[in-house]
């Protein structure tokens, strides 16, 4: 049932920038290093579709990675730790066990979604989601796209889609223009980010960027046809083929919690060497704080070096990390959600899309657990990854536990003789 166990000195979960940087740093030791990733190819979300042949930072890192003997297990998703020091994963070929001495979690982030009337219509999706689909072959030429929500991802996505022929009707950002201007100054002061900021400004020069604005409803019959936006206190309806809407990012911390790693303010708590509260388990990139690709690369390198005992080399990256972390903090401040967004969902709006639980059903309960027990909110296949962050914002709930399997798996892959029954509690 479970194929032969693979053994690694350093195992990395997640093949985005943090995971790739960790692998490159750890592989220099000659130790056995492996990356396991759910996606069909390396790169994570931000480098999706990039290859070592592309002309980019991503390509440079992928080329470095390919120069080392790192085993890549793509299309493989970790769902449990059956015994200490072993992760169990599922691929199309079945279940696989990965034994590790040191583990680096680089599980990335996902978009935060907030429910509003019509958000379950087809072609209403995350901003990063639409970009990912276009990277996966979706023709977007001459399609009318409204980009809305919050976060720097909106600008990057708008520029990408425009370059692929989309007609970007506008970018609707919920923060104020003053807050955005302050953030822009911070970006300009950041080494390595100025060029990116100037490029974005050039790319987006013809696209209206409307601040203090947010979507209040999507309309259509099965598929979105228009979006109603609140702008300066007034509502306006705009026709569109796609509404690309995400409210910044939330970290993927489920695996860390399953392993018993402590969280702090919702992020995985790490020390200077990116080590979590669990021995031999490190964490790098977005799960430790949303900071973008540069911070992820630095944290990944530190984790990779620390995992092979090269603490001295890791220390040389601390000052670079400190600067990038201050940028991450300004991201948090700038793109904090405004309270008006709590009023977007009506009592009839679906909050849990897996189980079609309406907002009005959830408000009758006092906690995430009570709502789960009584309404099945968060009990579907996404296991609350979409409605959890939404209800956290809307109702102040925090998820209480993570239980294996942390993703839906085939029964035949779930069954094993080594499994220990346990539940893991969030330590906030």
């Amino acid at each position: 049932m479970v194929s032969a166990r693979k053994q690694f000195d350093v195992l990395i979960v997640g093949g985005g920038p943090a995971g790739i940087a960790a692998a490159v740093s750890a592989a220099q030791s000659g130790k056995r290093v492996g990356i396991v990733d759910d996606n069909p190819a390396l790169g994570g979300q931000i480098w999706r579709g990039e290859t070592a042949q592309s002309d980019s930072e991503a390509a440079a890192w992928l080329a470095k990675l390919h120069a080392w003997d790192v085993e890549l297990c793509a299309g493989t998703r970790v769902f449990d730790q059956p015994v200490s020091g072993v992760l169990r994963a599922e691929s199309r070929q079945g279940a696989h066990d990965f034994e590790y001495r040191k583990l680096i979690l680089a599980t990335g982030a996902r978009e935060r979604f907030l429910p509003f009337p019509g958000w379950t219509l087809q072609n209403v999706m995350g901003a990063g989601a639409l970009q990912a689909l276009v990277k996966s072959g979706l023709p977007i030429n001459s399609k009318r796209v409204v980009v809305a929500g919050t976060g720097p991802l909106l600008l990057a996505v708008a520029a990408y889609l425009k370059n692929h022929g989309a007609n970007i009707v506008g970018i609707y950002e919920q923060v104020s223009r003053t807050a955005l201007a302050k953030f822009a100054l911070k970006v300009a002061a950041q080494r390595g980010k100025l060029a990116q900021a100037l490029w974005l400004r050039k790319e987006l020069r013809d696209i209206p960027l409307i601040t203090n604005a947010w979507p209040v409803a999507a309309r259509g019959n099965g598929v979105v046809q228009s979006v109603v936006l609140c702008r300066g206190g007034k509502h306006e309806e705009i026709a569109c083929d796609y509404l690309a809407c995400g409210f910044h990012l939330v970290p993927n911390t489920e695996l860390a919690v399953l392993l018993g790693c402590c969280l702090q303010n919702g992020f995985v708590q790490v020390d200077d060497f990116q080590q979590t509260s669990q021995p031999n388990v490190f964490c790098a990139g977005e799960p430790t704080g949303i900071g973008g690709v540069e911070l992820s690369l630095i944290e990944g390198q530190i984790a990779g070096l620390a995992a092979i005992g090269k603490e001295g080399d890791a220390q040389s990256l601390f000052s670079a990390r400190r600067k990038m972390r201050s940028f991450a903090e300004s991201l948090d401040r700038t793109f904090a959600l405004r309270p008006e967004l709590k009023g977007l969902a009506s009592m009839e709006t679906i909050v849990c899309r897996c189980e079609d639980v309406k907002y009005g059903q959830t408000t009758q309960h006092r906690s995430w657990r009570a709502a789960k027990l009584h309404t099945r909110c968060g009990m579907g296949p996404c296991q609350g990854r979409i409605c959890g962050p939404a209800t956290q914002f809307l109702l102040g709930w925090t998820p209480e536990s993570v239980r294996p399997p942390i993703f839906p798996v085939a029964l035949e892959n779930l069954i094993s003789e080594t499994h220990e029954e346990k539940e893991h509690t969030f330590v906030m």
């Binding site: 072609n123 995350g126 990912a132 689909l133 996966s136 979706l138 897996c354 079609d356 979409i386």
Partner: protein, 81 residues
């Protein structure tokens, strides 16, 4: 992604760029992926394999996350709508 390949979505022939995901083939076909428990047609939400809204049957295997599966020539894709 210039080379085109043909797949079948609910019995209908659809051509997509080689390397396209199954979710993209479903969208090009104008189909929805799944029908929700209260009967709503759904399509991709997260695009990265987290939300499970894009579930579809691929070559006889049910509940595959169509955004994470690449199309291959002749693939038989079946959705709820």
């Amino acid at each position: 992604m210039s080379e085109q390949i043909a797949v079948s979505v609910n019995g209908r022939r659809v051509t997509v760029a080689a390397g396209s995901s199954v979710a993209v083939a479903v969208m090009i076909a104008g189909a929805s992926c799944r029908t929700s428990v209260s009967g709503e047609p759904r399509g991709p939400l997260c695009g990265i394999g987290i939300c499970y809204e894009c579930r579809a049957e691929v070559d006889g295997v049910a509940h595959r996350r169509s955004c994470q599966v690449a199309c291959t020539t002749g693939m038989d894709i079946r959705t709820d709508g």
